[in-house]
Each structure stands twice: as structure tokens, then as C-alpha cells.
Amino acid sequence: MALRKHQEQQTQSPVPDDWFVPIQKNDSEAEAVVRPSLSYWQDAWRRLLKNKLAMMGLFFLSFLTFMAIFGPIISPHTVDHQDLVNQNLPPSSEHWFGTDELGRDVFTRTWYGARISLFVGIAAALIDFLIGVIYGGIAGYRGGRTDHYMMRVIEVLYGLPYLLVVILISVVMGPSLATIIFALTITGWIGMARIVRGQVLQIKNYEFVLASKTFGTKTGRIIRKNLLPNTMGPIIVQMTLSVPSAIFAEAFLSFLGLGIQAPLASWGSMASDALPVILSGDWWRLFFPAFFISMTMFSFNVLGDGLQDALDPKLRR
């Protein structure tokens, strides 16, 4: 009887009898963690490497830095050497980027301009960072009344039209590199201070900080492991993005005649000098400063965007 029933079952389904035995289980396999654990910075770097546009920007900026340092050295011409016989020459083997209306070598001047632009951009960003972190950090950390008044000051300053103030300061102090950087940072730090304050306020109350404290973790470790990764992201991004705006402002000022003065060269002043001759078709005068200033701003912008994506802890995957 039992046998017959067995046979019936087998015609219904082709599953062999000997599969009906308890299974051998491997418990460790079920609990395995697939994802390798990477530190925050490793992970961010890995994601940045994947971003082609950002890597392109980084590559261009490395190239630019290299040429800013060595370009004027490898060139046989100096930045202010006037050669009135060779005025407005198109690019040639002697003058790779051509010459300007005073016969100065555009190649040398372009890399000299790169020095100015990079210096202004990075110096302004660093000073903004320093002031912003101190101001925003104090406001955020102290909170309460201190924070209230510090924010009111920011509110008033925020209403100041940035470039107008910069122009005003440049007019008053007379054109020089120091003036430009001073003028740029006088309102430039506000954005950074706001971001830092926001970050500090937010993170001060984060539950994981509290959690670390209850576990008895040392303060230094809390700062390094928890606070830094979570605050540095937006700050680094803000810094990266404030470089191109400083570079733009310098070029803008130089273009208006308030920036770098002859015989020194800046991309802005070179573009400004090229203005009268574009009608005569001397394209190289405008092209080189225009190209490099645009490429530099482009590179910093895409690098900033890339960093923003890479450093966002919420986007980790």
C-alpha cells in the first residue's frame, strides 16, 4: 500500500525520493558581508577617480600648475621684454603664442598670467577658509546669543554687493596684487562662515556623536573619525568652488584696469589689451588668455562638482 502511494507521487512530480533528507547548512555563508569596508576618504577618492570630467579638470589644473612654474623659465623671452620690431606677430616657432602690440611674447605672458590667477584664486580661497572656519566655528559652537549677533553681522554684510565693494576697495587702495586679494576676501569669507556654522550646528547635536561619547571615545578621536569627515565635505567643495570665482573677480578687475598693472601680465589685462585689436583679426591676442581662463574656471567647477558628489556621505554605495 505504501509502495503504491509512493509510485503515484513519483508520476506526479519528477523529484527523486532521496532529496527528501534534511539539508546540510553552512551558517557562516548567510551572514557574510559582501562589501569591503573602506575609509571615508578612500571611498571618496575612489568615486572621484570614476568621475571622468572631474579627473579631466584635475589633470588640466596639474598641467597648468606645472606650466605656471616652468613656462616662464623654458621660454627664451621675458614677461616684459618689448620688441617694437616684432609687434602683433601671429604664433610662430619663435613666439609660440604670437606677440602683442609692444612685441612682448604672449606665451611667456600667458604662463605669467597663470601664476597670478592661481595665486589669487588659491590665496583668496585659503584666507576665506581661515576666516570662515574661525567665525563660523565660533558662531556655531557657542550658539545662543553669540551666534545670534554674529549672524546679524553676516546678514548685514551679505547685503553688500560683492563686486561693487571689491571695485571700491581697489579704487581706494590703488591697484596691486595685495589689494585684489584683500578686496576679494573682505566679503568672500561670508559664504564659508555660513557653511561652517551650519555644519557645526548640525553635527554638534548628531546622535552618533552622542553615541561615541557614551562609549567613552576620546574627544580627539570623535573629531577625527566623526566630525571631520562629515564637516569637511561641504567645506572642501566650497573652497574648490570659491577659487574660480576669485579668479573671475581678478580677471574682471584687471579687465576694468583695476587689477594687475603693466608691465606685469594677468589673463584679465591681456584680454582687455586685446580688445582694440580683435577687429583687425589678431585672434591670438584674445584667444590664449580667454582659453586658459575659461579652461581654468571650467576645471575648478567640474572638480568642485565631482568632489561634491564624491564627498557626500549619503551617496556612498
Binding site: 509512493h6 512530480s13 523529484v15 532529496w19 527528501f20 533528507v21 539539508i23 551572514e31 554605495r317
Partner: protein, 331 residues
């Protein structure tokens, strides 16, 4: 009993960075007129995907419909053009989502959001639509609806917002109402009120409800029938009585044992060990094998066919096989 909706062998997958996730793998069930069918399961089992597939609200890409049919009023919803589907959404079948705090548009007046569905599906004037909206708010228990229509979502509490969301789903008198975790985001006291509201509305309108939830307490209160879902498949279906008193699938039993009970003295809370399988490469056999205390070789190799225990009770499990019963008996 009259079937309003038939889902047959539904397959849905999602493309992700890690590969293709097979979220729903051959789901079949019917919805009868005027009943409440609860689909239960833990998060990630595919119950929400199933419900959104019925409404064709799965974003494509990354989602992908891989086969099966959804028959509503003799039409296969999976084969309708977008335009035809839009006529069904909100008028014949409507849906309520989990979080009432985010389900309403924060910058539009509540009245506007209520009437737009009416104006979309019914040939009525703006005034009539407003009248219907007022009636609906009244039905779901919102006091002074005339004034409330001109307010914005942030002026309502969570429970009130869920009532508005329910009113919004009911304005066109749908035949099927899909409620995806409608009470999960609410306080317990509000939960009870909302569930009471569901029962009340069903009595008044005769709407069929599909209730998606992981909360067996909610299921016990309102469901007529229950479908238990695990790893993209429905592993057991039955009436509320059958599922709660004669659960057959080890997963169903596990679910019931992991719910705190006050009515049974000294009942221990038994969690189900392990985690659901990775649906990037779902197991060939029964997906519960790795966590099942009764697992056999066969479970790992072949997915069990459905065993019908009664008109309403069905289960996908090898333990229903005579040979398994013999094995258990011999132990």
C-alpha cells in the same frame, strides 16, 4: 465570489548598479468584490512593488515588467497604453501611500489636490467637484471641510493628512483601493482610528481593498484574506482564520511566532534567524530554505508547487509532500 482583479504570474525586476534585482517572481492572486486582502511580508519582499505594478507606477527604467498579466474588468492592465492606464488610475483603482507627511504636495491647497482627480475623471463642474470633495472630507471625518479645503497640508496633523489622502483616493469611487502601509507612519492611537475608517468606508462604498503591510496586528484587525509574501513570491494564501490558526508554511509560522501576543500565556517571542536571500541571483529552490528549520535537500533544488488545502487556503511548500510528512514522522 466575484473577482474584481486577477494578478497572474507577475514578474518585475529592477536594474541597479550591482545588477538586476528580481523583486517580484511570479506572483498570482485574486481580489474579490468588497473584501480586504492583506499582503504581508518583511521589507524588501516585493509587496510594494507588486502593488505599484498593478497601478503601473513602477518607474521604467530602472524598473522592468518581465511578464504576467493583471486582469481588471476583462482588460489586461499590463497591455494598456499609457493614456488608457491614466483613465483607470485614480478612478477605477486608486492608491494610498505610506507616509502621509510627504504624500501631499506642500505648495498646493488641499482642496485643489482633492478636486483635480475629480475633474480629471468625471464630467463635472468645478463647483460640483468642490461639493464632492467636501462630502469626501466629511466621510473621512474631517471637521469643517469647507474651511479645510483652502488650507495647505502643513496645517494638518499626520492623522488628518492620512484622512485627506484616503479621501483623495476615494473621490472617484474606485472599485479597488490599494493601501501601501497606510498606518505605518502613524501613532498607534491614530492607527486604530484609520483602520476603523477603512472598515467604515468599505461598509459604505463596497470598495475592495488590497492592504500592504508588515504589521500582523493590522492584518488581524481588518483583513478578510491574507497573502504571505517572501522573496518575491506569495508562499501562502488563506482566510484570516486559516492563516492565523492553521498556518502551513514555516515562514508564516515564523512570522506569527515573532509577534508579541497577550492572549497566549508564556508564549515566547521567536525571531526568524538569518536574512532574506539576495534577489540579484534568487535561489532556484524555495527562497526560505536557508532560514527554514525543516529544510530538506529538495527545498534547495526545486521550488515547490502550490498545494491546495481548501478553496481559500494554498501553500507553496515541500512539507505538504507525502514523503516529507513521512520524514518528519520518522524523526
Amino acid at each position: 465570489m466575484e473577482k474584481v482583479l486577477e494578478v497572474k504570474d507577475l514578474h518585475v525586476s529592477f536594474k541597479t548598479y550591482g545588477g538586476e534585482v528580481k523583486a517580484v517572481r511570479g506572483v498570482t492572486f485574486d481580489l474579490h468584490k468588497g473584501e480586504t486582502l492583506a499582503i504581508v511580508g518583511e521589507s524588501g519582499c516585493g509587496k510594494s512593488v507588486t502593488s505599484q505594478s498593478i497601478m503601473r507606477l513602477i518607474p521604467e527604467p530602472p524598473g522592468k515588467f518581465d511578464g504576467g498579466s493583471i486582469i481588471f474588468k476583462g482588460k489586461d492592465l499590463t497591455k494598456l497604453r499609457d493614456q488608457e492606464m491614466r483613465k483607470i488610475r485614480g478612478s477605477d483603482i486608486s492608491m494610498i501611500f505610506q507616509d502621509p507627511m510627504t504624500a501631499l504636495n506642500p505648495t498646493l491647497m488641499v482642496g485643489d489636490q482633492l478636486t483635480e482627480g475629480i475633474l480629471q475623471h468625471m464630467k463635472v463642474s468645478r463647483e460640483q467637484a468642490k461639493k464632492i470633495a467636501v462630502e469626501m472630507l466629511d466621510l473621512v471625518g474631517i471637521p469643517s471641510p469647507h474651511i479645510r479645503l483652502k488650507q495647505y497640508p502643513h496645517q494638518f496633523s499626520g492623522g488628518m493628512r492620512q484622512r485627506i489622502v484616503i479621501a483623495m483616493a476615494l473621490v472617484c469611487q474606485p472599485e479597488v483601493l490599494i493601501a501601501d502601509e497606510p498606518t505605518t507612519a502613524l501613532d498607534v492611537t491614530i492607527q486604530a482610528q484609520i483602520l476603523e475608517l477603512f472598515r467604515d468606508i468599505q461598509k459604505k462604498t463596497g470598495v475592495s481593498i488590497i492592504l500592504i503591510t508588515h504589521d500582523l496586528g493590522v492584518v488581524a484587525q481588518v483583513a478578510d484574506r491574507i497573502a504571505v509574501m517572501y522573496a518575491g513570491k506569495i508562499v501562502e494564501t488563506g482566510t484570516r482564520r486559516e492563516i492565523f490558526y492553521q498556518p502551513q508554511h514555516p515562514y508564516t509560522k515564523g512570522l506569527l511566532n515573532s509577534v508579541p501576543r497577550l492572549d497566549v500565556d508564556g508564549a515566547d517571542l521567536v525571531p526568524i534567524g538569518g536574512t532574506p536571500p539576495d534577489l540579484f541571483s534568487p535561489p532556484v529552490g524555495c527562497p526560505f530554505t536557508a532560514r527554514c528549520p525543516y529544510a530538506m535537500e529538495v527545498c534547495d533544488r526545486v521550488y515547490p508547487e502550490k498545494t491546495t488545502l481548501s478553496d481559500s487556503h494554498g501553500v507553496d511548500c515541500w512539507l505538504q509532500d507525502e514523503r516529507a510528512k513521512k520524514l518528519l514522522a520518522s524523526r
